[in-house]
Amino acid sequence: MNRRPTGPPRLVAAAVAVTAVLGLAACSATPTVSVPTVSVPTPLPSMSLVPVAPVTPDPVPTALPSCTNSPGSDPAASWRPPPMPSPGAMPSGSTMRRIQERGYLIAGVDQDAYQVSYRDLSPSPSPSASDGDAYQPYEGFDVDLLHAIAAAVFGRKGADRIHYVPVTQDFRLGAADEGIVDVVADSATITCSRWKQVDFSADYLDNAQELLVNSDNRKVGVSLSPDRVPRVYGMHGGKICTVGSTTSITNLAALQYTGDFRAVQATNWSDCIALLQRGAVEAMSTVNTILRGLRAQDPYLKVVGDGFSYEPQALMFPKSDPYSAGDSQFVGFVNGVIAALESGDRDGYCPQAMTAADTSCWGALYRTWLGPRPPHPPIPRYLP
């Protein structure tokens, strides 16, 4: 009788025991799920580098150079004010008459140049149902000029008859050029090249370009050489933000050549300040009136250095719009309004309350929006 061969019982028992142990270990092991490592991008407004202009910066002028595009050789000279008509009695056939008949002034304004021309974002009051113009969404130094113009056309009670068209820095020139608006009040600097597309009022505010940095930044500044050539120092390759289609970007592009920084262009001033607050740029730069308004939005910012440009500001008007024939008459009219604001007349209309310390309505506007110590207003220059 044959017997089936059998394996060593101990070996079989050992194999069973090992299998059991391994099985228990597998069952009791806690499954782990690894947490993936991820990188979270930092949100920033978009910005683009400004090409470096291969030129050394010019000395800062104290007056604009002669220009052939302007009506006179002096680009800061505008049309002389005519004898001012009474409010509500504009000369027939004039742009002012057309505005009067329309019932409101159409103005292009900036909406984020705080304290200069900005959309008033305070919690809005309920507008009066009977007076849709009671709610004024825009405020600022430039906007008060528009109130003065409207008052000159419609009378004091019509000072608020303004329809606002928010224009970006890019579009303000186009809005005036294409005649979409009657006037643009947007801290526009008088330049020779812009005279090709628009007419300018007389200079109503002299400005200079400066730098805005974080309050704990002690390295960055702008200095003027003895011959007034500006130089930015302390940047060490950092970025300075500004907005396109402005004289600010032109000035910075020239300074890049000698300064150790790169200029970047954002869409608007709010984007620049957001970039500065988030540390994406070391500074931002534009005219000092706008910088002061931006600084007022954040107490941890400060303006540094010398002003490194000459920026006379004026209102812009359509130039070649056939619908605005006689616009030079309107420009002269507005120059008369500006002159009245800069005079010491206390009986005329002033958008802001004048104090005893204010020598002119212009000074009251400056004190309200731009600073407690108004300088002398610029002396207007007119065509001969």
């Binding site: 799920v33 947490v35 993936p36 991820v38 979270v40 991008p41 930092t42 949100p43 407004p45 329309r102 409101y104 159409i106 909406q111 984020d112 140049a113 705080y114 900005y118 959309r119 008033d120 974002l121 305070s122 919690p123 809005s124 507008p127 849709g132 709610y135 969404p137 329809h163 606002y164 068209v165 928010p166 224009v167 970006t168 890019d170 579009f171 020139l173 186009g174 809005a175 050029d177 294409e178 005649g179 979409i180 608006v181 597309q197 396109g244 289609s245 869409t267 608007n268 001033w269 709010s270 984007d271 300040i273 957001a274 607050q277 931006l294 939005q297 954040d298 719009d321 056939p322 619908y323």
Partner: protein
């Protein structure tokens, strides 16, 4: 002979096991497809994550607007939206079968959410103080959500959609193994029957005949049921799933345009750039995107065309009406285009702001009732799409039920029949084997 007997017994049992495993597997895949479809349908986590992110942006924007332009628009507290999104993320992350890419997406969204909320809070705080910089933060928050977070949520949904297609594809597979094993089992029984008949001179073997009949019935029934289920999957489930996914794309397009419009109204065209020379054409990112999506060749028109039979005829008209409404909104972009077009025609004077088309200022919006808005068009276009989407998913779920009908019963019945056939074959083989061996020994 013994081996032949063993094969004749085992083959039917194997067939039963294959039917069990195969049918059960099909049922599982259909069940997975049903679960995935349930997750993708309106109101479930993967779809809800995208919807909740969009809602968060809408509430932030509405709150921002209601602080300034006109009072008290209806909105939810964005913090409530944030909590809901965190719940969505936790639920989605808790799924054990999530892929590594899906987990990475969900983790990234979870890390980006506080960054977004910080931007929104800064925007609202600045806005509350009347500071224009708040608008920049609102714009940045919107860009962050749309460029970083929403694409990842869409990717999570896309992974689920791919999983759905894979489940459906597998459920629609032809039952090759079952056919092969069925034919093999039947062949084994026939061969065994012939061999036994030749050796024992008994033409009919009752056990093997019974086993053969059972195998025939089992195989034919299993294959027929599987093919019917497959037909249901191929003709119905796949098209329902594709339609539902297509409707999701339409909904995404509509939500995208709505976000564009809300941001345009909130930031008052601060995102615009202009060509540097005359004619000065303004291009605003949000408006341009809205027009591109709504245009005749835009993604919304394309996606609507794919699901046109599922939607009322008025939907196409609503898209065109929305596009027309966009072109007459009092925005800088539209204004500049009109101005440039008129300026080029010397006989016409430029469209001054008191002329026909743009006879309203871009602000203030003091009355929600009179504010130019595309909200009604958004609602009229979105509602039928949502209804159609819910309808398609419910029909999909019904299709899954139909496809699964009887599969679980078939699985176990198949195993039982296989075992019974194997037993019958064994019983049929035993007397003949005994007889065979006894003849063999006598011959020896």
């Amino acid at each position: 002979m013994l081996a032949l007997g063993v094969v004749a017994v085992i083959a039917p049992v194997v067939l039963g096991a294959v039917v069990l495993v195969g049918t059960h597997g099909t049922d599982l895949r259909l069940s997975d497809a049903g679960q995935t479809g349930y997750r993708l349908s309106s109101g479930q986590v993967d779809d809800l994550l995208t919807a909740d992110l969009i809602r968060l942006q809408q509430d932030e924007t509405t709150l921002f607007q209601s602080q300034v332009d006109y009072g008290q628009l209806a909105h939810r507290d964005p913090r409530a939206d944030q909590r809901q999104i965190e719940v969505d993320l936790a639920t989605a992350s808790g799924r054990a079968d999530g892929s590594s890419r899906e987990r990475t997406d969900l983790t990234t969204i979870a890390d980006e959410l506080p960054v977004y909320m910080d931007l929104g809070a800064t925007a609202l705080a600045d806005n509350q103080q009347g500071l224009p910089v708040g608008t920049a933060y609102l714009r940045e928050a919107s860009s962050y959500l749309r460029q970083q977070m929403l694409p990842k949520a869409a990717d999570v949904r896309g992974i689920e959609q791919s999983r759905l297609r894979a489940d459906i594809g597998q459920a629609a597979g032809f039952p090759w193994w079952r056919v092969l094993v069925f034919v093999t089992a039947l062949g084994c029984l026939l061969f065994a029957h012939e061999q036994l008949a030749r050796r024992t001179h008994r033409r009919l073997n009752a056990g093997l005949l019974v086993a053969g009949a059972v195998v025939l019935a089992l195989g034919a029934g299993a294959i027929t049921t599987t093919l019917l289920s497959r037909h249901q999957v191929v003709t119905d489930l796949r098209s329902r799933a594709n339609s539902a996914v297509g409707l999701t794309k339409v909904r995404d397009d509509i939500d995208r345009v709505d976000l564009d419009d809300e941001l345009t109204a909130s930031d008052h065209d601060e995102d615009c750039q202009t060509t540097p020379t005359a004619p000065f054409i303004v291009s605003c990112a949000n408006e341009s995107d809205a027009l591109a999506v709504l245009g005749e060749r835009g993604p919304l028109a394309t996606d609507l065309a794919e699901v046109r039979p599922l939607l009322p005829a008025g939907v196409r008209t609503d898209r065109e009406r929305w596009l027309t409404a966009e072109l007459v909104l009092p925005t800088l972009e539209n204004l500049s285009k009109q101005a440039a077009a008129s300026t080029s025609k010397s006989t016409q004077h430029p469209p001054r702001y008191d002329d026909g088309f743009v006879n309203r200022s871009l602000g203030p919006y003091t009355d929600a009732a009179t504010t130019p808005s595309t909200e009604k068009l958004f609602v009229s276009l979105r509602a039928p799409v949502l209804d159609a989407s819910r309808h398609e998913w419910s029909r999909y779920a019904a299709g899954v039920r139909d496809a699964r009908a009887g599969l679980d019963v078939l699985a176990w019945v198949g195993l039982a029949l296989g075992l019974a056939a194997g037993l019958a074959a064994g019983l049929g083989r035993r007397p003949r084997v005994t007889e065979y061996w006894s003849r063999g020994e006598r011959a020896a």
